[in-house]
Point group: C2
Chain length 317, copies 2
C-alpha cells in the first residue's frame, strides 16, 4: 500500500482539488427535516430514546453529506467532538460513517487533537489509525497535539508508519487565542516555529514518492504571513489548513500554503460547506434541499481555490 501522503496526493490529482470537507455536525445547525430544532437542545440530561434520535439524525445528515462530496473531493475530516458529544452512540455512528466514506473512495482524517504519553498515546494511535480492518476507528489520519513533546508524538508517528496512515500535528491554530502560547518567542523564534522544526524533522525522515512525509502539520489559514513563513521552513510537511469560510479566510489567504506546483496543502472548510443552506448565497435551496446547497458551496470553493491559488495548476486526471 502507498503511504498516506501518496494516497492523499493521488486523490487530489484525481479530483483536481485540495479541498477537504470538514464534517462538524453541530446538532443545533442540522436542517429541520433531519432534526427539529427543539430536539437539538436536549443533549444534556436526555433520555436513552433522545440519544437514539440524535444518533440517527447525525447518521442521516452525515451520510447525506458523504453522498454529495464523494467524487468531488479526495478526503473528509470528521470532528470527533460532535460525535463524542452524545456518548457511545455517537462514536458508533462515526465508525459507521468512516466505512461509508471509504466505500465512497474518500480518505478519512479524524480530527481528535489527541495527545498523551507513552503507552496511552500508543492506545489512541492503535485504536484510531489504519483503515479497513486495521483499527476500530478506521482513520487514514489523525490530528495530534504537540504540547507533551517529542516522546509523546513518537507512538503516533510509529503507528502511522506501520499502518500506512498519517498524522497532522498542530503547529499554528486558526483561532485568535492560539497566539497566546504559540506566538511566545523563545530562543529567538516563536513556539510554533519550535514545533514546526520538530514536525519537519519527523516528516523528512520518511518521504513518500510525492516528496512529502507522512507526518503533516496543522497551520491555520487565518494567519497569512505565518502560513508563508511555515511553508518556507517546512518543505517536506504537508499542511492541513483550517480556517477557510466561517473563520474568515478566503482563497487568497491560503495561497501561500502551496508549493510552486500547487501541492503540499489541503484546505478544510466545515460549516460553510455542510451548513451552506443557512448562508444567504445559497438560501435559494432552503432547508429541505440542503444537500444541493452542500454541492453548490463545495463546487464554488473548488473553483475559488483553483482560480486564486497555485492549486489551479493541479490537472484533474
Amino acid at each position: 500500500m502507498d503511504s498516506f501522503i501518496d494516497r492523499l496526493e493521488q486523490g487530489i490529482a484525481r479530483c483536481g482539488t485540495p479541498v477537504v470537507v470538514g464534517i462538524d455536525p453541530h446538532l443545533q445547525m442540522l436542517p429541520e427535516n433531519i432534526l427539529p430544532a427543539s430536539s437539538a437542545q436536549s443533549v444534556p440530561g436526555c433520555a436513552e430514546w433522545d440519544i437514539r434520535r440524535l444518533a440517527l439524525a447525525l447518521q442521516s445528515f452525515c451520510r447525506g453529506v458523504l453522498d454529495v462530496v464523494s467524487g468531488l473531493v479526495a478526503a473528509v475530516k470528521f470532528q470527533l467532538a460532535f460525535f463524542e458529544q452524545i456518548g457511545p452512540a455517537g462514536v458508533s455512528v462515526l465508525t459507521d460513517l468512516v466505512q461509508t466514506a471509504h466505500r465512497g473512495g474518500l480518505l478519512v482524517i479524524l480530527d481528535g487533537k489527541r495527545g498523551d504519553i507513552g503507552s496511552t498515546a500508543l492506545a489512541y494511535a492503535q485504536g484510531m489509525l489504519g483503515s479497513g480492518d486495521a483499527s476500530p476507528w478506521g482513520g487514514d489520519a489523525l490530528t495530534v497535539n504537540p504540547y507533551l513533546g517529542d516522546d509523546a508524538l513518537e507512538p503516533f508517528v510509529q503507528t502511522a508508519r506501520e499502518r500506512h496512515a498519517g498524522i497532522f500535528v498542530l503547529v499554528k491554530t486558526s483561532n485568535p487565542g492560539g497566539r497566546l502560547f504559540q506566538d511566545l518567542v523563545a530562543e529567538g523564534r516563536p513556539i510554533y516555529r519550535h514545533v514546526a522544526a520538530l514536525v519537519e524533522d519527523l516528516a523528512s525522515r520518511h518521504l513518500g514518492k510525492c516528496g512529502y512525509g507522512d507526518i503533516g502539520g496543522v497551520v491555520g489559514a487565518t494567519y497569512r504571513e505565518q502560513l508563508a513563513e511555515l511553508r518556507e521552513v517546512m518543505p517536506h510537511t504537508w499542511f492541513l489548513v483550517p480556517g477557510y469560510g466561517s473563520q474568515g479566510a478566503r482563497a487568497a489567504d491560503v495561497a501561500p500554503a502551496f508549493d510552486a506546483r500547487g501541492r503540499g496543502a489541503i484546505i478544510n472548510n466545515s460549516r460553510a460547506l455542510i451548513f451552506a443552506y443557512r448562508r444567504r448565497e445559497y438560501d435559494r435551496f432552503g432547508a429541505a434541499r440542503w444537500q444541493e446547497a452542500v454541492e453548490a458551496a463545495t463546487r464554488d470553493m473548488i473553483a475559488e481555490i483553483r482560480a486564486e491559488t497555485p492549486a489551479g495548476r493541479i490537472a484533474p486526471e
Copy 2:
C-alpha cells in the same frame, strides 16, 4: 450542589487521603483470568466477537478495581485512550463504569486531554462534563490541553461552572519529552509558567468554600522543583499530580504539591496500583488474587503519602 473542588475536598477529608486511583486498563497487562494474553494481542483487525470479548474483559477488570477502591479513596481517573482503543464498545463500557463509580461514592475524572476551538470545545465539554443525567459521559472533571490558548479553554471553564464540574489543565507534564516545549523560556519564564498564570487566573475567579477554584492544573510529580515553584505561584489552583509509581516519583517527590494544611493536590497512581499483582512486592497474591494486590498497594500508597507529605495532616472524619 457544591462546586467540584469542594466535593473533592470533602471526599478527601472523608477518606483521609488525596490518593486517586488511575484506571488505565492496558489490554496487555490484564490478569490472565480476565483476558488470556493471547487475546490481548488482537486489537487491530479483530473481528466483532473479539471486540466484545475485549469489552467484557475491560468491564470486568475495571469493576473489580472499583469494588476495591471505593471507600478507600475519593476519586478515580479513567484514561479514555484505553477505552477508545477498541471503538464504540469501549466507550460504552466506560460510561457504564462511570455510573458504577458514582454509585460507589467516587468522583470521576476523565483523562482525555481534550482541546479544541469554540463550538468544538463546547461539544466536548457538554458531552463529558456533569455527573448523573447532566452529560452522556458523566465526568465530574476532565483533563484539558492548553496549546490552543485562552479562547479554547473558555467553553470548558464555562460548562464546568454551569454543571458544578471541574477541569484540570495540563501545565507541566510528567514525561521526559514534556520539557521540549514546556520548558522553553519566553519573556523571562518558561512556557509552563505562562500556562500556569492563565490557569491560576481562571481558578481564582471562582473559589469554592475550601479556598481553591474549580479550574485545576496537571503538574507532574517527576519534576520536584517545578512542583514547588508552581505551588508557590498557583495558590488557588488544585493540582492533579501524575507520575507517582511506575513513572518513578515517590512520596517525598509529591510533598511540595500540598499547601501547609495538606490540601491543594490529588496524587494519581495508575499502573502500580491496578496492576500491582505484577509487582514483586505483591507477587504473593498471584494473578488470580489481583484484587487483593490492588487493595494492598493502594493502602500502602495511602500510608506513604500520609507519613511523608503534609497530607498526613488531613484528619479522616
